[in-house]
Amino acid sequence: MTDATETQVAADGDTRQGRAPFFLRLVRQPSGAIGLLIVAVLVVMAIFADQIAPYSPIKMAAGKPLTGPSADHLLGTDEFGRDMFSRIVYGSRLTMQIGLIAVGISLSIGTLIGLVAAYAGGFIEKLLMRSTDVVFSFTETLIALAFVAVLGPSLENAMIAVGIAGVPFYARTCYASALGEEGKPYFEASIAAGAGHGRLLFLHLLPNVVPTMIVIATLGLSNAILAAAALSFLGLGAQPPTPEWGAMLSAGRDFFNRAPWLMLYPGLAIALTVLAFNILGDALREALDPKSRERS
């Protein structure tokens, strides 16, 4: 769960003139550099999983079952003799997919609702934002559970569930940010100049909420990855033999006595990934809005 109060402050991302380029500002912060580095490693792992992983993630008897870390099997093997390192590497691909798809769903629907509500005003605004408030009060976990209950357990459904559950938060943030834009002189000037709805919405409002939404989405990735892993851990997500980290962690607890690494590495992998997106998100926010440094 991202903390709502903080992310909403990072709204205004304009007036950049006279400062160092954005990317430099980002990596100059130690947290930004570290976050970016870990994320880069994860992305490389995910893209080149076929080249990096020494074994197929589902190949049984790649080594002897339940052996500890060794030169042949960097992270040991599981009860079928599958190579844990390969499973973790392929797991990063799944994790990225889950995060991107879930956040993609939240982001696209949420931004649309937020923009339209802020722009349309009146009844539509009330209707959209009140509904969002209502759905928001259900909490993400409940929404995700309800969706999986209806759709049935599977990795795809878990992604959709987590994505849908995130919509209200993105809608609210986008709405707040867009409202701020509408008050600015340039926007009023555009209206006076007779700009059409489409132009106002997509050429003026949208680009100006993008910085905020990028921050939200980066932090949201960590949130989505954590939520989907929790669903898989409970058995409501990935099905065997998918090397999904949450599911691997869940399967590993049977062997806690004899092979603690089966539970340790998937947990570490999730924690590290979530951490990377969290600090990257924080750093992004600071780079976009140095004023927020004081507050967070």
Binding site: T5, F138, T139, L142, V150, S296
Partner: protein, 307 residues
């Protein structure tokens, strides 16, 4: 103040109203015939029996009629019976709701006791190494999956060291799940408290107090803490919903007998009456608790109290 609370109450009622509609529709969104799923355990069911059950549940009626019937039963406290074993759903949920509330409350207490002082300290020492250290710890804390933390605590404290009971519902059994949930949320509380306190400290009346020459300690006690209570209550409100959500997962790790465990079992067994009841009870609980916190908030915040 009454107007503020009235608005909040209306919002809460609206939420519950929407929930009842969602819950009625839920069973129609399920792929396949819910009545056939109900009878999957029975042998030799005749089509007549299926029809009878369909009309008993009102599933042969138009959806609006079903909704009215559902509300009617609801007002009598009837949430239907489980598919597996035909147990009354309302009773099952009410038996377990106190367990979930106790878990969420204790976890919130732990998170507050750890998070608020640390967040306050970080705000007070803002910009120092200590602040940096605390915030790095906090962000690491946020990133640790609570189900992983829970398992590690379970295996370490209960299975290996035998310090705490592993499962069940004795008084000591709440310690591990509450600790897991509390610890994993303490970091969020610390971060939120810090930013709230920084806001408060930068407000004019605090600066004035300093300028008047009041000692640092006096300013803290008289003004900062008092004003800081408002955001802390806000934080607690937000925390409570997280806690309720987190409880669903944590209950299942530690076999804590709350509504979250009941719900997960029901999802696996496709026991729709239980799932429906769970959603309704969960949403209502969140609404009621948030409303209570709003009332506290209104009492504390002079601006709302006066309005």
């Amino acid at each position: 103040m009454l107007r503020f609370l009235g608005q909040r109450a209306a919002m809460g009622l609206l939420t519950i109203f929407v929930t009842t509609i969602a819950v009625t529709l839920l069973i129609h969104l399920v792929p396949g015939d819910p009545v056939e799923i109900m009878y999957a355990q029975s042998q030799g069911t005749t089509p007549e029996q299926l029809e009878a059950m369909r009309s008993k549940l009102g599933l042969d009626q138009p959806i609006p009629v079903q909704y009215v019937q559902y509300i009617g039963r609801l007002l009598e406290g009837d949430l239907g019976v489980t598919i597996r074993g035909q147990q009354p759903v309302a009773q099952l949920l009410m038996q377990r709701l106190p367990n979930t509330l106790a878990l969420a409350a204790l976890a919130m207490l732990i998170a507050t006791l750890i998070g608020v002082p640390l967040g306050f300290l970080a705000a007070y020492k803002r910009g120092t190494v200590l602040d940096g250290l605390l915030m790095v710890t906090a962000i690491a804390g946020i990133s640790i999956p609570h189900f992983w933390l829970g398992l590690l605590l379970l295996f370490w404290l209960a299975v290996d060291l035998g310090l705490l009971p592993v499962a069940g519902s004795g008084p000591l059994n709440i310690v591990l799940p509450a600790l897991t949930l509390g610890l994993s949320n303490a970091a969020i509380v610390a971060r939120m408290t810090r930013s709230a306190m920084i806001d408060v400290m930068s407000q004019d009346f605090i600066r004035t107090a300093h300028a008047k020459g009041l000692s640092k300690g006096k300013v803290l006690r008289r003004h900062v803490l008092r004003a800081g209570l408002v955001p802390v209550v806000t934080v607690m409100g937000l925390q409570f919903t997280f806690m309720m959500g987190g409880a669903i997962v944590v209950e299942n790790i530690f076999a804590w007998n709350g509504i979250g465990r009941l719900a997960l079992e029901a999802i696996f067994q496709r026991d729709y009456p239980v799932i429906q009841g769970f959603i309704l009870v969960f949403a209502t609980t969140v609404v009621v608790v948030m409303l209570a916190l709003d009332a506290v908030y209104a009492l504390l915040d002079p601006r709302i109290r006066r309005s």
